[in-house]
């Protein structure tokens, strides 16, 4: 998603500035020296011996930053983590990617990383759910599982000699349908215990990928194995030959119902608002924004307007200050 600049009126500018200053004052006390820009000096204890890492340089015996970002310290290592950069994978991350190529025994996925990620045929569950050895027939049918431009959810497995490997060994991973994919800067998505969210009251699924890809779609029930066998068998025979022959009338019957679509759009716009403001994207904040827009009886499209964005910033400042007092 390209960055959208808000067309703010004069009063909105003042209100937004005030809210951002309040947010900054709340966080400044704890992390006053964490964020740096180029040529800022980084305070280190020279007697302990310091390892100067990525984004730092020695200048007249002083450690200075060569990047804009946040200072991280790991034992004696001091480095600067740039915020506005491509996604840096870590083992165990939940990511969402788009298939760019179907190669021999593998799919290549674009996950907002320097290179494409690899998802091996042997690293994922087969659609029929049976645990068995992959055969040549499975290789020939790889495009029936994922084809180019499909959106796939997976987990980072690690770095191998031929690149970054993903795996999709659970029911919750796999192809994502009936929804929309949003792209936000990866630093807005924090690593958490749970990245799959089912908003029951809205009937939608929300997947916050660590790489900044966020999926908002219609809820899909995780079926158990017995039912899956029968459904997938009938699906594999009926769906693929008829894929391109579905008429327009039949296609319209399969559309997401309007009520669910409204909630999907509202959740997607909540993510867009957070991305525009540069706020952390978590389930709690997304739900708060959805509830705020619902309580105001706001039209879904007006969530992207300047007035609502300023209001969200003010509410976030209130929320964090109240959390501060509670501690």
């Amino acid at each position: 998603m390209r960055e959208i600049q808000l067309p703010l009126s004069q009063t909105q500018k003042v209100r937004l500035q005030k809210a951002l200053e309040q947010l900054e004052s709340l966080s400044t006390k704890v992390n006053s020296d964490a964020s740096v820009i180029i040529a800022d000096s980084i305070h280190v204890n020279h007697e302990d011996g310091v390892l100067k890492g990525h984004g730092t340089a020695d200048l007249n015996g002083e450690v200075v930053a060569t990047l804009c970002g946040v200072v991280e310290r790991v034992n004696k290592l001091v480095y600067v983590r740039a915020l506005r950069s491509r996604y840096k994978p870590e083992v165990g991350d939940i990511v969402i990617g788009r298939v760019v190529e179907v190669a021999q025994k593998r799919w290549r996925l674009e996950i907002n990383y320097n290179q494409d990620a690899v998802l091996l045929l042997s690293s994922m569950n087969m659609p029929d759910g049976v645990q068995r050895r992959r055969t040549a027939v499975d290789e020939l049918n790889m495009r029936c599982i994922f084809e180019e431009n499909d959106v796939v959810c997976a987990e980072v497995r690690g770095f191998q000699h031929d690149g970054l490997h993903l795996q999709a060994r659970s029911r919750k991973y796999g192809k994502l349908n009936r929804g929309q994919l949003l792209t936000v800067p990866p630093y807005l998505v924090k690593r958490q215990k749970q990245h799959f969210h089912h908003l029951e009251e809205f009937g939608i699924d929300l997947i916050l990928g660590c790489n900044g890809f966020i999926w908002v779609g219609e809820h899909v029930e995780a079926k158990d194995d017995m039912i899956e066998d029968q459904v997938s068998q009938s699906d594999s025979q009926v769906l693929f030959p008829n894929k391109n022959c579905v008429s327009l009338e039949e296609q319209e019957k399969n559309y997401t119902i309007l009520e669910t679509r409204k909630y999907i759009s509202r959740a997607a716009n909540a993510v867009r608002v957070l991305s525009t403001l540069g706020f952390n994207i978590t389930l709690e904040i997304i739900k708060g924004i959805i509830d705020l827009s619902l309580s105001m009886n706001l039209d879904i499209h007006d969530m992207l307007g300047s007035e609502f964005c300023v209001l969200v910033a003010e509410k976030e400042a209130e929320r964090r200050s109240s959390m501060k007092k509670r501690r």
Binding site: M1, R2, E3, I4, Q5, P7, R98, V100, E148, N149, D150, V151, K175, L176, N177, R178, G179, Q180, L181, G217, K243, L248, Q251, E252, N254, Y255, T256, L258, R261, K262, S265, R266, A268, N269, R272, D299, I300, H301, M303, L304, G305, S306
Partner: protein, 286 residues
Amino acid sequence: MVGLSLGETHFIQGGIAQDLRCDGRKRLTYRPISVETGVIPQTNGSARVRMGATDVIASVKAELGKPSLLQPDKGKVSIYIDCSSTAEPAFEGRGGDELAAELSNALQHCLLGGKSGEGAGIDLSSLIVVEGKICWDLYIDGLVVSSDGNLLDALGAAIKAALSNTGIPRVEVAAGTSNDEHPEVDVSDEEFLQFDTSRVPVIVTLTKVGRHYIVDATSEEESQMSSGVSISVNRQGHICGITKRGGVGLDPSIILDMISVAKHVSEQLINKLDSEIASAEADEES
């Protein structure tokens, strides 16, 4: 171009069919439009227009030249569009040239009228200094800074805003010059003439997806289009130009329906745009 999965494609088409697009808009709703004028001080007039994530800049430069022999009583205007390489990966190198040429041609058809000069959004006669000898040449340049669909509407709006921001220096012609000689002129540094932009049209692009059509399509929605029709309408409700994109043919009755829809949409768009331009000019002065 955006690559979309079947699920996403189906979701977008369903949204258009059910009149609830992915960001909550209806079929005939525009994204928020913001206008900024006077962004390039070296030009006679300039403007920047944002529609959602689409971002374009237009500028107008004026210089004295000689009128065309075919139309000695009219000035000259040319339009050139460039696509910045950073707007989209596909624009790298010469990737944007084809789209830029297409946009330039469409804008010329929509804004400058026919070969006779009649129907132009700009009164070309007002650009004449000395008939047959000296006139103003206007060079309108557009730059696509960020591309998220609906470039033609955004460029049309930016050019309209840039023209309203344009100041043409006042020209004094020295008296007593013989008719056969080239007249001597004195270009003022202090006094400027403002354009009358009330006749400059806006462009409304209707993109057909399935059996419906939408305005202000995003990149994802444009990737699902079968065809698109761009109609420029002026304040009086007159059609100033029509161009068509996409490979699928259209039934004439659909085109007539699109024209009436475009006229209806353009009323709101012109009012919205005029108020944005007025507030942008006020901001620039302060």
